[in-house]
Symmetry: C3
Subunit: 127 residues, 3 copies
């Protein structure tokens, strides 16, 4: 199970194209060999009320988090984190070239003991 979450300010709605980012992210994550594609979940949170820095400029921001199952070694986690953030930077590069846009990213692990799942999507992929 791996959870990708992207917060974005409402003023980049026309350019953010989150469906494409999520499609690209799932392909990238599946290609790492670390995650079965069936366990990937992404979601966006559009932010209506927000502030960046001094609030004085025409700012925007995108903050992404990736929360993955516990137990992969640090090198693997770093490889995943760097690949995902590289994708995010590429996805927003054109937009960032023409406006003030802050991108940030954090990878964390799910709790090793207290994380559960129950679904019928893996079956579809197994069959």
């Amino acid at each position: 199970m791996a959870h990708f979450t992207v917060e974005y300010t409402h003023n980049i709605e026309q350019d953010a194209d989150l469906p494409r980012l999520f499609a690209d992210a799932h392909r990238l994550l599946a290609d790492t060999g670390v995650f079965p594609v069936a366990g990937l979940r992404s979601r966006a949170h559009r932010l209506e009320t927000w502030r960046v820095a001094d609030g004085a400029g025409d700012y925007a921001f995108v903050h992404a988090t990736f929360r993955m199952g516990h137990g992969r070694d640090a090198a693997t986690r770093r490889r995943v984190a760097e690949a995902l953030f590289a994708l995010i930077k590429a996805h927003f590069a054109a937009l960032q070239s023409r406006r003030l846009l802050a991108l940030s990213f954090e990878l964390t692990e799910l709790d090793p003991e207290m994380s559960f799942k129950h679904n019928n999507i893996h079956q579809r992929f197994a069959s």
Copy 2:
């Protein structure tokens, strides 16, 4: 203080019935004896833009988190986690029997030192 958060994809809006899930969850949590009912907070986040797996099926997902005050032992935390996830599975069982639906859950603890509260709801329950 205990925080229950449920993310759900917009395509199950008609069936999710979060108000009932939250009512059942608060009753269950109060009945554990671990949490005073006055300290329970639940909220849903409806997801408009999201992706599951390869995006090729009529998928849906529900991801729930429970963040509780620090300091209960592991057995207590596990008991709470399992009871809550059993409730979630029961709540969505009928829906999951007829569509591709992924349920997931994580329990974590609030920071032991840097978590504060200030409210006038406990007073109502004390009086």
Copy 3:
């Protein structure tokens, strides 16, 4: 990089004035000397579906989190946490004097290794 997030129940929309809270918070955080103003990001999540306690009263709640870069000592983190929560309490004091309102707050740190950023806002402040 520091992320301030405020969840609030929809029934206090008219009184919450999050833009003012965020402006005050960014000023306070910049004044601590701990954070460059360019790295501050705030956002609100309006909650449409939620429950407090037994659901029987005209309750409301505000839950705020502050996630800051790793590495400041505990005394600094505590000073920041207490200053921010004092601001939140002051911001909502008038509202809390006339209705049942629960305020809560948690400060946590970003992952020390797996947190990245890429932006052109700091440049604006440097120039």
